[in-house]
Symmetry: C2
Amino acid sequence: MSSHSPPSSGSTLSNRGAALAARPGARDEADILYSRNWDLVTNPEGVVNLGTAENRLILDDVAEFIAEKKIKFEGADFDYGEGPWGSLRLRTAMAKFINAHFHPHSHLSPSNLTVSSGCTSLLSTLALTLANPNDAILLSSPSYIGFPSDMSLLAGLQPIYVRFPSSVDQFTSPPDAVVAAYSAALKHASDTGVAVKILVLCNPHNPLGRCYTKEVLVGIMQFCDRHEIHLVVDEIYALSVYSTPSATDVPFTSVLAVDWAKYIDENHLHQLYGLSKDFACGGLRIGSLYTRNVELQCAVSSLSVLHHSGTIPSLLASTLLEDTAWHDSFFATSRERLGRAAAFAKELLDKAAIPYAPGANAGFFLWVDLRRWLGEKDGDGGDEWAREEALSARMATEKVFMIGGRAQGTEEAGWYRFIFSRSEVVVREGVNRLVRALNASPDRCNAPVSKSGD
Amino acid sequence: MSSHSPPSSGSTLSNRGAALAARPGARDEADILYSRNWDLVTNPEGVVNLGTAENRLILDDVAEFIAEKKIKFEGADFDYGEGPWGSLRLRTAMAKFINAHFHPHSHLSPSNLTVSSGCTSLLSTLALTLANPNDAILLSSPSYIGFPSDMSLLAGLQPIYVRFPSSVDQFTSPPDAVVAAYSAALKHASDTGVAVKILVLCNPHNPLGRCYTKEVLVGIMQFCDRHEIHLVVDEIYALSVYSTPSATDVPFTSVLAVDWAKYIDENHLHQLYGLSKDFACGGLRIGSLYTRNVELQCAVSSLSVLHHSGTIPSLLASTLLEDTAWHDSFFATSRERLGRAAAFAKELLDKAAIPYAPGANAGFFLWVDLRRWLGEKDGDGGDEWAREEALSARMATEKVFMIGGRAQGTEEAGWYRFIFSRSEVVVREGVNRLVRALNASPDRCNAPVSKSGD
C-alpha cells in the first residue's frame, strides 16, 4: 500500500467527474447489450435489440459496395491527414451529395461544412458553443433520446419538451397552430427566468417517423428568427423515407430546400447530416454540420481536434458519398426494404393487438403504445414512470430491449420506440418476447424490500 | 433578408463559443499546411512540415501489412459496434500488446482499459473528470504542446511549467533533486491559491526525446501520492526508442513496469497509450487509458459517446496490435530508421552550425536552439516572444514549419522542435529553408506600422 491513503470513501474526481461517474452504469449495460445480440444460431442466449436505431437491412449492401471498390490503403491514409474538420475530398463529396439529394435552394460549398466524428459530438459541440450552462433547448415531445443527453453532458443545457394539443399535428397542421405550442413553451421558460437559445428539429422525426411540411418549417424558422433562437435541424434520416399503404404522404423537405434566408437570419440556421442512418454506417463516425455562421464555424473547428473522425473512415465515407450512380439503386433498395419491414412489424403488432402511432413513413421505428400494460397504480407512491421502468425490467427479463418514453420526453408513460429495421426472424422473435413481457403480471421488483409482501 | 436582423457586430454564440471562435485561426492555417505539404515532384510550391510529429518513415510498412492481411469488411463492421469505449477484441489486443512490450509488474486486463478516438480526447476527458476549472496541471518545461491546449480547451485547467536548475537533469538526476523542482512549483501554486490536481509526464519525453529512469519515476509517484495529485503518464512513444552514437543510454521504463502500488494510491495513477506514434497511425484515432480508478473509468466512459473511435479503425487497430510475430521486425525497422534519420538530421544541423540539445534517443524530434537568430532586442518593447514569433514568420516566408518554444512552455524564447522522421530529401530541403530563414535579417513585420522605419 502507498504511504498515504486517502479515505476510500471520498471521490478522487472533480465535481464534474463525480457527477459523470454517478450516471447510470452505461458501460456494463451496453457491454451486455451490444456484445450479446441475439442470433438464432450463433447466440440463442442473446438480447433482441429493438432499441438501437441501426438499419441492419442494408449493412451487407454497404459492405459489398466497399468490397467492390477494392480500396487499397496507402501509407498516407494512416497519418493525421488534412485537419480534424474533414478532408477537402470528404467535404466536397458531402456538399455534392447534399446538393444532389436535398435540393438545396442554393448550392452548398465544402467551405461551409465541418465534419466531425458523428452527429453526437456535433450536438455536444453546438450546445457548448451556442448556449451557456442552464440555458434551454426546445424539443418537440417525444424527442430523440440523444438530444438532451448530448447537449447536457458537457454543456449543461436543459431540455424543454414542447407538447402539442391533440387538435394539433406538429408535422402538418397550420404553422400558426404548431408555433403556438413553441411560443407557449418559450413564454413559460421566460416567466421562470430560463433563457431558450436553441430549438432542435429532427426531420424526418425520430421517434415518430414523420416529415414536416414546408409551411411548418417556415413557421418554425420565423419563430426562431423572432426570438433569436438558433434552429438546429437534424436531417440524418433524410433518405430513409419509405412508403406503405398506411403511411402519411408528406415527403421530406430539407430546411435547405427552402429559401430560408427570407425567414431566418443566416447566423441562426444550422443543418446536420451524417452517414449513421441512411448509409447504416454508425461505426464510421461521420457527421456533418452546415452553417453560414462564420463565428460558429470557427468555434466548432476549435474543438474539432477532440472529434476527428479519422482518415480511413473519411476515405470510406468519401467513396460512399461520391458514387452517384450507385445511390439511385442503393436508396431505392433501402426504401423498399424499410417499407416492407415496417409493414411486417405492423402486421405482427396488429396480430398481438399492440397499438402504435399511425402515419409513420420515415426512419427505422414505430411509436408503440404500451400504456395499457403498465399495470395498476399501486398506491405505494409508485408513479407512472416507476411503472414504465418496471415494464422495461420485464422486457429485460424476457431479453428484449426497447427505449421507453421517459428518456424521450413523452408526456405520458408507456410509449416505446420499436426499431423494425431488422431481419424478419429478429423482429418476430422480438415481438414474441415483447408479448411475453406484456403478459407477465406487473410485479414490485423496484419497490423497497420492506414492501415486498404487498 | 430576414424580418428581424440582430446587430451584425454582436456575437450569436455562448461565452464559451465566442472565446473558442476568437482563438487563432487554426482552421485556415492548418488547411494550408496539411493540404500543401511540399514534394519535389508533385507539389514543389508546398510547405516543408517539420512541425507535425508523424513518423513518415514507416507509413508504407503499415499500409503493406494491412494490405497483406486482405481484410474484408463485413456488414457488421459498419454499424455502431459494441460500445464507444472500445470493442472487447480491441481492448484485449491492447492489453496483450502492453503486457508483451511494456513489461508491466502485473498483467493488464481489458476491463481496465478505455479506448477513445485518440489520446487528445482522453487528455481532454481526464482534465474534465479529474480537476475543476482553473485547477492546475504540472508539466515539465518544455512540454508537448498538446497538454495545455487539450486540457484547457473544455476543462479550463491552467498549466504550470516546472523549470529545472541547470544542475538537474529531470531524466537521470537523483529523484530528490528532480522532485524538488516539482515541490517548488507546487508550493508557489499553493501560495497563490491555485490547486494542483494533475501531473502529466510524457515518457519518452516530447519534445526532448529522452526517457526517465525508474528512480525518477518512483520519486514522482511518491511526490504525487504525498500531495494527492493524479499522475497521468503518456507513453505514446514507448516503442520509438532508437539509438545513435550520441544518444543517452537510458532505456524506456514504463510506469506500469514498476511495482507502482507500493508508491502511489491506485486511484491516482493513469497511463496513456495509442497508435499515433509507434504505429504511425494518427489517422486511426486510437488512444487507450489504463486506470484502476473505477470511479474515473465510469466518468470517462460516460463521455465515450463523444469520442467513439469507430468500428473500422478498431478493426484495423486490433489487426495491428495482435500480430506479435510482425511486431519484432516492424519495431526493429522503425528504430533503425529513426536512428538513421536522427543521425542524418544532426549531420545537416552540425554542418549549418545549428545547435541542438544532446542525448535524445526516442521520438521523432530534436530540440534545436535558435536563440542566436532571434535578432536584437529592438527597444520598442518587442520582447523575446515577439522575436520568436518574428523568427517563425521568417520560416513561414521560406515555407518551412516548426513549432516554437513558447507554445511548449520554454523558459527562454528561441527553441524549436525539429521533426526528423521524414525522407532525407524532405529533411535536407527543410534544413536548407531553415538556413535561409535564419540568414534573413530580422525585420519588424510584427511591429506597428508607425514604427516601420525603425
